[in-house]
């Protein structure tokens, strides 16, 4: 901290020799040890986001290096936030939990404070994956990512990220497949490795939300021959399905309150998961091939094989 104070205060580049003169006994006497201590302090400051500029001198002092800090490189410019704006940010940070402390730290730097009371509402957006900070950094700075996914080495230009239903997705250009692909962050195997900043450009028409298929789209995105099935849903569950798939999926309302829906089923595995979440409160009526598939699944399970 004294090193920083000195470099800021002197406002001109100093050589290590001058730094040692100024800081006196704070650095060890031996050249080697003093150099090591200085390097350690310098690295620590860089780590904190305070870059120390260096320049190698020529002429008489050839080979000597000077060091200085440029305050505008690390100090936050005054954003002129109003009290109201700061309070709004405080409230946002108190309501939205990330599972990481960066939000609070940002608040402090912006002159705000953590609200320590209890909130009537909260939202949890997990950021806890071990790779999360490397990934967000890569997305923000446009770095190419390397990671293992489903047993393959991938090289991905991460165009964007989406948090939906408790999962984080990376959407990007997959060099292996030479196409745009979606990856779930928690399914990445091992750790990610990021390349240089500004390694790629994101397409101008890129839309993060549209890039990750919804559950509804997932049911439709398969290679099954049959694309929709007629499903009868019992009265207690029908309103939920109606909300999920919309009025256009309704074929007819029955008198007992149950409803017949037209549901995408090209992705049969996904369809089955959706269907069986309702256990015996739903039934596939048509087509026969999908009905048979469901019956076969049930029979094999009933037989305990």
């Amino acid at each position: 901290m004294n090193l920083l104070a000195l470099l800021v205060d002197r406002a001109k580049p100093l050589t290590l020799r001058q730094v040692r003169q100024e800081l006196g006994k704070q650095y060890p006497d031996s050249d080697e040890a003093a150099r090591a201590a200085f390097e350690r302090d310098k690295a620590a400051l860089r780590e904190m986001g305070i870059p120390i500029e260096t320049k190698t001198l020529g002429g008489d002092a050839a080979g000597e290096v000077t060091y200085w800090v440029n305050r505008s490189n690390y100090e936050l410019s005054d954003l002129r936030l109003t009290d109201e704006e700061r309070e709004a940010l405080q409230l946002a940070v108190a309501t939205v939990h990330l599972g990481a402390q960066h939000g609070e730290e940002a608040l402090w730097k912006l002159g705000g404070e953590r609200i320590l009371g209890k909130a009537s509402m909260s939202v949890n957006i997990g950021l806890v994956d071990a790779n999360m900070s490397a990934i967000t950094d890569a997305v923000m700075k446009r770095k190419t990512l390397n990671f293992d996914y489903k047993g393959e080495k991938r090289q991905v230009d991460p165009y964007g990220m989406l948090s939906r239903n408790g999962f984080w997705y990376i959407i990007g250009f997959d060099h292996l497949r030479r196409d745009k692909r979606v990856f779930r962050v928690d399914r990445i195997e091992g750790s990610v490795l990021a390349g240089e900043a500004r390694a790629f450009k994101t397409p101008v028409d890129f839309d993060v939300s549209a890039a990750v298929p919804t559950e509804k789209q997932m049911l439709a995105a398969g290679d099954g021959e049959v694309t929709t099935a007629v499903v009868l849903v019992d009265a207690p569950l029908a309103p939920g399905v109606r909300r999920e798939f919309g009025e256009s999926a309704v074929i007819r309302d029955r008198e007992d309150g149950s409803v017949e829906f037209s549901i995408p089923c090209a992705n049969l595995d996904g369809f089955r998961l959706w269907l069986f979440a309702m256990v015996d409160s739903a039934e596939v009526l048509e087509p026969q091939s999908v009905r048979d598939h469901v019956v076969q699944w049930l029979e094999s399970l009933a037989a305990g094989k």
């Binding site: 936050l76 960066h102 699944w297």
Partner: protein, 365 residues
Amino acid sequence: MAAKKRTAKKNTAKKTVAKKTVAKKTVAKKSVTKKRSSKPAKKSAANSARPARRGPRSAAQRVSGLLVMLPWIMQRQRVKISTMARQFNLSEAELVEDLQMAAVCGVPPYTPDALIDVYMDDGMVIAEVPLVFSRPLKLSTAELFAVSVMAQTAMQLPGANKKGPLASALAKLSPLMPAGAETIKVQLPKTRFVKELLVAVETGERQEIEYFSPATSKRTARTITPRKVFEDAGRWYVAADDHLSGEDRVFRVDRIEKLAGVQIFDQLREVRDDELPWFSESLQQVTLRVQKQARWIVESYPYVSRVDNKDGSVDLIISITSKHWLGRLLLRAGNGVKVVKPAEHKQLASETARSVLARYQTTVS
């Protein structure tokens, strides 16, 4: 003002910060771990606990903390030590120690008009004559990311003002954002009644609801007093006093079919995140053997423990909320999952399959 008590004489300070190592007892940060290991929601964010701090704080950690605290205190000039310690998740002793360290920092020849004028007096932290370290450091990428995610999430919440102070704060922050920040989005589920429930939390008005419970496959009418509305892993929940059972319960908002205020107002009561009553009854634990083809189970359900077997299968211990719920899980998983114990549930998969099959055998399609 009372006579100032300098915490240390600056001209005697000759130690470098980096050399000063302080071994001390660790103070774990307030843990936000929730009792949710047994929640039947997605597991992904389940461990969203702030990592507890372990081991003594390093000198570098303390300095980087100070670089945040000093501009903060200079903006306020006087803050209670206890308030400031709580704000920064430090014990009072730790805070005092850090501020003392700051107070002995300066520039040669370390005369009293040095750089950092922070001292403590009568339980207050007082900062004067800001010179250096008065401006906060730039926001790191991680911090910018956090702010943008939090703010855009907050903008989606019911009742958010799209043109309010949060929006204008974000606009002021936008020049700092790296280009990639634009393509990071958070999508909150759109669920009806969230807004109404929030209002009810604030007024204390009891609500009559019709609720579907998949654990029993039944719909019940009940009266609740909502206490907290929260979103977790893509779903909205409401923690409420349930007047039907007389217990505190958590309900999934998307399973509320009807909702109406009943003009009875209960006294307001706040529920902390760590007090959320996920389940009222004690839960049964079940051991499942999960084969490779049903691996999604491991990723989708919270589990108590997990053992990876040599053949690629996984033994999972999960807590179940009801037999019906376990049956549903087994039905969806198919033959990729078997109940190892308890014995009473070993036949559950085939029983459940038979009950569903009965439906297909009686219907003429």
